[in-house]
């Protein structure tokens, strides 16, 4: 089977330098160096392409060097069999499989950098093949900021293995030792004669050689990296600037029709009366389809409703507007986010379930010279990718093909199989580019809608969510209420720290009756708190979910970091200390934090405690760096303030300093942001800077303007601007990012920029005005100014 280790690509003979390739192959054949003839009838496989074909080849044809199955199927991180990840065409084109979804984090480029570096590929020859959803690739769930972390080692291994096979092929051809050959970009050089053979010319011969065993593979010394750690140009951006590239909403299948769905306003509300007469009169409308009412738990099910099928999207939207529908109340009909928020706050005032504890927090409070307490509230949010969800499905007899902007094509395939009762082998799921995702597109409900409708209609169907659908029928970020209390000693040092957090768990979307947050959710900024108070306790309260609660960029870290790092600022103020100095002291001496030693169940983002410990030294280092960058302590103009926050999430350490200017009336401008990130080994610093900028603005935008509310079980907001995002004019004018150089294992970067943004902003507003804003959003969709208490307006 090793013959498919280097894919030989169908159509390669059509590629440009055919003559050159043929000449080389003829040359190889003439020398008959391997004692085999006519062996070039290789299995045709392009690993990872949308139509994966198992090679059909006669086993007798490759008796040369047949060492059996790949020895690299179980390296750290998964299968590193080079043929699954790399195909080299006769013209030298290097096709690299990307099994993660491209959603703006530049994963096409970063995955390619890792492979191409070890492969010694010529970057100009690199192309990406987007993998369909399949177990052979291992984890494809593109969330949790872990594409690089999960795949760094195995993709290096795959690239290195193929480089060695190409080297071996050249050595055989020249009848020299492999050690006498050197891989250079796109070619192998004979060290003695200076002759070279291109990868394109060597590919077929290399394909007949055994895949090296893992212990024989020598990965490059980091000093010799050419792409890893470098600002390699993007593989997607040139296409983007010409409107090329296919997003989910762009998918076009012959004979396709377009669907837009009217969904019940309440989660688990049901479809009642349906009058589609006027809808069917709309030009272009073809039919309507009633979708089944879902039953709890929500899982990734579609939410029911009535679909309008039309000849184009606009007709479908117009048809939906013309539907006369009567909805029936469901179990969430009474949901009112305002009264719910009050109940959450009440819960956080009572003792909850202890999730981490050291010392005696009550005794610590009693012994304190002064106590500080504060309550924080953060509303539901929606991910709001600029591309709303969109999925396309086509049935051919009993096989199903789906295309769409999915973060997890493998799970999408699993769910489609379960919901539709179709064997998984008969389903293909092909991810397009994702026009932003932020967690929304890890939920494939829209793909199931497309598959159900395509089956019913008997034609390929594209389901497009309008912005109203995206805002009203989302998987929302949890609303939360938190109470923090601290006891400070005579010197102002925190000796007792209590954090109570209450929010509906994401688990309530997936199981009935869940009212308590999971350890995983609490490990996102609550139970992993790095403060050194002698007495410390983290508690969680009970809360029932009434909407679909889901992941949003950095998840519970958003509200936990807001509360914990705002509270650090409040403690500093109570102690009469500088925010930054106080924060460093709160973190305390250099050490490794182990929440499990204090009773916490802690998952550490799936990273081992050995490889990815919580290191206070790294937290403090980014604090110092960000403060230096911001020239912390400098004389500020009147009504300006600096705020700082630090947070470790997704195994990366980020400190953010925000400068604000606040007028006496509450008009806010953000002249600058300075951010330091330690994410361990970095593949492309440019990507990291972009994610830090984007993650920060995501956090600032939500903190200032973002709020989803519900009345009578229905979401109140519908579109921009009732759901409001930060614009250019409101964004910081100056934004500096420092990526700390590190040879530690790679950490996440897609999400960690978000958590420190809101508390740094809140601390800056406090510094500028003396006003402590503990309720989000600070301004809201319709507001123009910060709500400064009267007594601070002239502070």
């Amino acid at each position: 089977m090793f013959l498919r280790e280097i894919g030989v690509v169908p159509g390669a003979a059509d590629a440009a330098p055919v003559g050159q390739e043929r000449a080389a192959l003829t040359n190889l054949s003439r020398r008959n160096m391997l004692g085999v003839s006519g062996v070039f009838v290789l299995g045709l496989t392009l690993a990872g392409c949308n139509t994966y074909v198992e090679p059909e080849v006669d086993a007798d044809a490759f008796d040369v060097g047949d060492s059996g199955p790949s020895p690299l199927t179980e390296v750290a991180g998964g299968d590193a069999t080079p043929g699954m990840w790399i195909a080299i065409e006769g013209d030298g084109t290097v096709k690299i499989t990307c099994h993660r979804s491209e959603m703006g984090q530049q994963v096409w480029t970063s995955m390619a950098q890792i492979v191409a570096d070890e492969l010694e590929a010529d970057w100009d020859t690199v192309q990406i093949v987007q993998a369909e959803g399949h177990e052979r690739y291992g984890d494809q769930n593109t969330d949790g900021s872990r594409s690089v972390r999960y795949n760094f080692h195995r993709l290096r291994t795959a690239g290195a293995a193929m480089r060695m096979m190409l080297t071996d092929a050249a050595a055989l051809y020249w009848e020299v030792e492999a050690a006498d050959c050197t891989a250079e970009p796109g070619l192998i050089r004979n060290n003695e004669t200076g002759e070279t053979l291109s990868y394109g010319n060597l590919a077929e011969l290399a394909a007949k050689l055994p895949v090296p065993a893992e212990d024989a593979i020598k990965l490059k010394d980091p000093e010799d990296w050419r792409f890893i750690g470098q600002e390699v140009p993007s593989l997607t951006i040139p296409m983007i600037t010409r409107g090329e590239g296919e997003f989910g909403i762009d998918v076009d299948v012959p004979d396709m029709v377009y669907a837009v769905i009217a969904r019940p306003p309440q989660v688990f509300g049901r479809t009642g009366t349906v009058d589609d007469a006027a809808a069917l009169e709309v030009p272009g409308v073809l039919q309507t389809v009633r979708l089944p009412d879902p039953k709890p738990p929500a899982l990734f099910q579609p939410m029911g409703g009535v679909a309008v099928i039309a000849k184009d999207t606009w007709a479908a939207i117009q048809g939906r507007n013309a539907l006369k529908l009567g909805w029936r109340d469901g179990p969430n009909a009474a949901y009112d986010s305002e009264s719910y928020g009050k109940a959450l706050k009440e819960t956080s005032r009572r003792k909850g379930t202890v999730r981490r504890s050291r010392g005696d927090v009550n005794a610590g409070m009693e012994a304190a010279a002064q106590t500080v307490s504060a309550e924080y509230y953060a509303p539901h949010l929606t991910q709001s990718p600029m591309e709303p969800p969109s999925g396309t499905a086509r049935w051919t007899d009993d096989t199903l093909e789906c295309w769409g902007c999915v973060q997890d094509p493998q799970e999408t395939r699993n769910v489609l199989s379960q919901v539709l009762g179709v064997d998984k082998e008969k389903i293909t799921v092909k991810p397009t580019w994702l026009g932003g995702a932020f967690g929304r597109k890890s939920k494939p409900d829209f793909m199931i809608e497309a598959a159900l409708l395509a089956k019913e209609v008997g034609k390929p169907v594209k389901v497009t969510w309008t912005r109203e659908d995206d805002v009203r029928h989302g998987f929302y970020h949890a609303v939360s209420a938190q109470r923090l209390e601290a006891g400070l000693d005579d010197s102002g040092q925190c000796t007792s720290y209590l954090h109570r957090t209450t929010f509906p768990s994401i688990s309530s979307t997936f199981a009935n009756g869940v009212t308590s947050p999971s350890a995983g959710e609490l490990g996102l900024g609550a139970t992993d708190v790095p403060f050194n108070a002698a007495n410390l306790q983290v508690e969680s309260g009970e809360a029932k979910g009434h909407v679909r609660t889901g992941w949003l960029r950095s998840v519970c870290n958003v509200f936990h970091a807001f509360a914990v790092q705002s509270f650090a600022g409040e403690m500093a103020a109570a102690a009469g200390r500088d925010q930054k100095d106080y924060l460093l002291e709160l973190i305390g001496e250099d050490r490794i934090i182990d929440p499990t030693a204090e009773g916490a169940e802690y998952g550490n983002y799936g990273g081992s405690a050995e490889e990815y410990p919580i290191e206070t030294a790294r937290l403090k280092a980014v604090v110092e760096k960000a403060a230096d960058m911001a020239n912390w302590g400098r004389q500020l103009p009147d009504r300006h303030g600096l705020g700082i926050a630090v947070h470790r999430s997704f195994l990366a350490y980020v400190a953010t300093v925000v400068e604000v200017k606040v007028s006496p009336e509450g008009d806010l401008t953000i002249p600058g942001v300075w951010l330091a990130v330690d994410a361990g080994t970095v593949i492309n610093p440019r990507h990291v800077r972009a994610q830090m900028e984007g993650g920060t603005i995501y956090g600032l935008s939500n903190a200032l303007y973002g709020e989803i509310t519900a009345k009578n079980g229905a979401i109140v907001q519908d579109n921009f601007p009732s759901w409001r995002l930060m614009k250019m004019a409101e964004a910081p004018r100056n934004f500096e990012v420092e990526v700390i150089r590190s040879d530690k294992p790679p950490a996440g970067v897609g999400e960690p920029g978000t958590p420190p943004a809101a508390p740094a902003l809140a601390n800056a507003i406090f510094a500028a005005t003396g006003a402590r804003l503990r309720t989000l959003p600070m301004i809201g969709a319709n507001g123009t100014r910060l709500p400064l208490p009267a007594e601070t307006a002239t502070a």
Partner: protein, 150 residues
């Protein structure tokens, strides 16, 4: 009834329902999907095209009112301003997911064609397109860089 629209310098015959916004004619009828749908209410700017050179949100623009107009989309926009903007976008790695960037490029190239040395305030006023990836800082830097090239 079919009408003819001039899109990217080429006459295209369109047979869409009266009142259908240009956005959906481009995307669904002509398969020019570079112009994006983001909100449908002219708030986000993902659908920005040039109508006689002016940046215009196509999601609320009835296509049948454009028979005398020159329509330019991301697939067809060219000239010194657009070229400089594209170059700066690539050089500075401006886009992240890229979904809003067709609209951003159409807005930025129209700005630069009109004003070869835009101030921060000019950029704020012209660049009201939403970007959830928040490429705003990069866009501002790239517009200024492009301005030095036109």
């Amino acid at each position: 009834m079919a009408i003819t629209l001039n899109i990217n310098g080429k006459d295209e015959t369109i047979d869409a329902a009266p009142g259908t916004p240009l956005l959906w004619v481009l995307r669904d009828h002509l398969k020019k999907t570079g112009t994006k749908f983001g909100c449908g209410v002219a708030q986000c700017g993902a659908c920005t095209v040039h109508i006689d050179g002016a940046p215009t949100r196509s999601c609320v623009l009835p296509h049948d009112a454009l028979e005398d107009a020159k329509i330019t989309t991301i697939e067809g926009v060219d000239g010194r301003a657009a070229d400089a903007i594209r170059d700066a976008w690539i050089e500075d790695n401006v886009p992240q997911c890229g979904y809003c960037q067709s609209g951003q490029i159409m807005a930025a190239s129209a700005l630069l064609a009109e004003n070869s040395n835009p101030s921060d305030e000019d950029i704020d006023a012209a660049m009201t397109n939403l970007c959830r990836c928040a490429t705003y800082m990069s866009i501002r830097r790239a517009i200024k860089k492009a301005a030095t090239k036109v």
